[in-house]
Amino acid sequence: MTCLIFIVTLVLAAPLGLVVAFGSMSKLRPLKWLTRTFVWVIRGTPLMLQVIVVFYGPSLLWDWSAMSREVAVIAAFVINYAAYFSEIYRSGIEGVPRGQYEAGQALGMTKGQIFFKITLLQVIKRIVPPMSNEIITLVKDTSIARTIAVREIIMEAFTFTTRGLIWPLFYSGLFFLLFNGILTILFGRIEKKLGYFRV
């Protein structure tokens, strides 16, 4: 379950975050302020609370039958991480100097060519370190799923403590450490690969 929450959140929140990022950089003021308010609310409240609201909210407000706990957890995670990712994307995109766009324009490139051939790789290079940070946090945040009794790894381990066994909890810690160790190596490789140029 831990891995599932992690993977689905990453796969859905990464592109959704890009949409949110474009919204918060929009020239349409209402859209910009709406998106920024959304990001403010999501980043300004605890993820644990958001999980509870997504799970219990709809059934309390509108008499819906409660959605499955797993779906609720994933939905809350996707929304939360899309907001965080969007800010990382925004900083990456806004960090590309104006001169890069202008140089492309002066050379007769189209907007699409400037984005794909010039700015995209520079944006990726800029966002790899903060993204790796955020994704490592996501691994650990999956433990919040137990708030609404989704059987993620810590909850599983915790059931053993009632029988006086503390070791499973210790092993769950090792699991997180290992998982994040792999991610750290992976992101280190990406960073190294993009190290041939400087922005």
Binding site: Q100, Q105, A106, T110, Y196, R198
Partner: protein
Amino acid sequence: MAILEVEKLEKAFGGTRVLGGVDFSLEKGEALAIIGSSGSGKTTLLRCLNFLEIPDGGVIRVGGETVFDAGDPATRSESEIRRRRLHFGLVFQNFNLFPQYTALKNVTLAVELLAREREDFKRRRSEIFTEIEERARAVLDSVGLSDKLASYPHELSGGQQQRVAIARALALSPDILCFDEPTSALDPELTGEVLRVIRSLADKRTTMVIVTHEMQFAREVSDKVIFIDGGVIVERGTPEEVFGSPKHDRTRRFLERYSGG
């Protein structure tokens, strides 16, 4: 016939007039130096020629063809502007090389992308790419960088980066090559190599518009000089006229400030 004609060019930023009706023309093979203090509008003028700013008023003609007319919306559309930009090349103050590409790729990139629009591109793809690369090598050689083809911008000095930027602009064979204070971001000991390249272009009769603070250089290299102040041309003439015997007080005061240092 003049290759470049500019008439009544106007530009304002949020109510502040930056260009107040600038007229000038340039013959093929001439080098025009634009001088003036910071904020006088000279960089804006250059950016208008390259359509990085869209002028509020005026007409720009290249080789008799109207490439911009503020009164004619057809000349202001995005795709038209992109095509017409290619009449002009621009060398920036801060080089603006693409950091993820080698010197060679910086020079070939735009030419390759443009070649994709050619009708015979699919058929002659590899031939075209070979031609482009050969030409890029030749251009980089002409700016003295044949040994730096595979270097990335961060591995080059400021002077070398600016020479790559010049090669990049030349590779598209623009009718008019524009320089926006090409040596202002360089350490003093590196300005020489860039100025030498520009001078050799002048010797080859490249049509150029050069915005510069290097007065001595402007005097030596240009055929015409324009002094801009407050968004209007205060004085114009040959280098001898403008630098040797300026008619206007404002020009004289400006030049005195520079001759001291």
